[in-house]
Amino acid sequence: MPFFSIVTPVYNPPADALLECIESMKNQSFADWEWCVVDDQSTHKYVQTILQRAMASDSRIRVALRSTNGGIVDASQDGLDMATGEFVGLLDHDDTLDSEALAKVAATLLANPDADYVYTDEDKINSDGQHYDSFRKPPFDQSRLRGQNYCCHFSVFRNTLLDDIGGFRRGFDGSQDYDLILRATERARSIVHIPEVLYHWRVVPGSTAGDSTAKPYAYEAGLRAIEQHFERTGIAAEVTKLQPGSYAHMFTLLPTSPLVSIIIPTIGAKSRVWGSSVRMIEHLVTNIANMTTYDNYEIIVIDDLNAHPGYAVPFDQPDHSSSRRTSVFAITQPASFYEMCNIGFGHAQGQTIIFMDENSQVTTPTWIEQFLGQMIDPEVGIVGPMILMDDGRIESSGISLSPNPHRIGWGNSSLNPGMWGNSAVARSISGITDTCFAVRRSVFHELGGFCPEFQHHGADLDFCCKARNSAYRIVWTPTVRVIHFGTHQAHICADPKDLLLLTRRWKRYLDSEQYSLVG
């Protein structure tokens, strides 16, 4: 069985909170632990009294008193230096652990002997002892960790891994744990998430739990931690701050510039775009040509001739020497949107394929760079953007499969970060919509493209499920924004036949949403 060292830096916590923290440690059902408590020269005398009593009451509690106030980083590092356990957990001085926390982490470590880092779900606890804001976290998600410290509490590291990375670093006060997690996850052999709330984060005035703007220096430190993470991993990206605790990253320089094929099926639809009646395909192709900064792309228009007699799509310039060429391929047989996408794939030359609904418009100049940037990680197979309605509200910040497939953030303001920043930070997700998404050519080919059996909606979700089943990650990124014109519905896959087919194939995913759980 593993032996745990729990590290807690202490500085002037409320007495009752500290007592509850001590009680939660003593109440652990798992017995093999030591608690390394470091008092960072608390000015309140009761702190030392309480700690001395705790130490006297339980031999597993070890208390060190710092001679000077060094701040949270030095105090935490002192705690790490005291730790003799095989695994080290981090506990704040006013928070509490569930009584089964260490037992469940121990069981997880036994079942996953390669695990170097384990994190659990968490909730918040107010001064009345009420629990709320339960954060149901996803499986380990590198993309999301680059936007927010979602792992946070309760984090348990293999002690040798912490030795390897050099423990806490000065200069990251307030985000020292974020910096530690970023560095640890870069080297960890295996990372395991326990989907149970085992940590209770206390909300007291001035704490980050209650007000994320309370510690602006921590926000700055978090930004530096992510910037340095990108430097270490050799990825050129510019990190910017969103609302406190969340960050966006824009990929600035890609290692290569592969050919990208943008496939747009068209029925020659005519619609009103902000008052003007336009052919949507012409609007989109012009928009892409004017907006896109990436040079090496081709546009492939699949033109359903039956849908628009008397109109000819005017963009056919199949100059194969040009880097921004547009080719139009006409089809005369009736075909669904998804079949047209598959036909387009047959003509595409690019290593990355982007599928687009003709009723859309790109608003991010570096949209292709951002898609390709997310795909630097080889396990990422599909990347989708933030889809907005023409009035600026969110149409979709990804798809959640439970209870029924629906668009996340539908109808919200695009400034609304959503629950736990779900609509603000790039993250892995269960599915994305067919309005716009990028996929590796090899992945699309391997998975057999879109299933032609779906008539109206659902082949996009089916494709996402196929990708997940083959261990590819699907990433949604808010740094790419696409406006979708036309009708908007929160629920997708409304056709019962399509839903039945989806359920027949992927009930296991429909019944167990992992990435967008709330409450």
């Binding site: 080919h445 057999g448 493209g449 196929k466 027949r504 296991r508």
Partner: protein, 122 residues
């Protein structure tokens, strides 16, 4: 020397003539229906290639889809098997209980009478 120059000139003329003949033959071939036929053949082959690509995609999808459906059916089968096992276990528990055995014992005379007089039971 003079004679050699004459022969060279003749050879050059002959080569030019042969080349002109070849060019004429090629030009004729270009103008003929062969080129059009080749173009059509190429187009048909391209279409065939496209159709094959689509078939390949559909076949891959069918494999994935069938495999996923099979997985779901297996999961359902396992659930059903578990349920049957649980029902069997419950049944065994009931049959082995003292209440059942006592009831069975008490009902024995009735069962014997029913059998002796050949009266349909239950």
């Amino acid at each position: 020397m003079f004679g050699q120059d004459e022969r060279t000139d003749e050879l050059q003329v002959a080569s030019r003539e042969r080349l002109l003949t070849e060019i004429g033959v090629l030009q004729f071939a270009l103008k003929s229906n062969d080129l059009e036929a080749t173009k059509q053949e190429l187009q048909a082959t391209k279409q065939e290639l496209q159709a094959t690509k689509q078939e390949l995609l559909a076949a891959c999808d069918a494999v994935y889809g069938s495999s996923a459906e099979l997985g779901e059916l297996r999961a359902q089968l396992n659930l059903a098997k578990d349920e049957v096992q649980r029902a069997r276990d419950r049944n065994t528990l009931i049959l082995n209980s003292a209440t059942w055995k006592l009831g069975h014992l008490l009902m024995t005379p009735r069962r014997i009478l029913l059998r002796v007089f050949n009266i349909p039971g239950k």
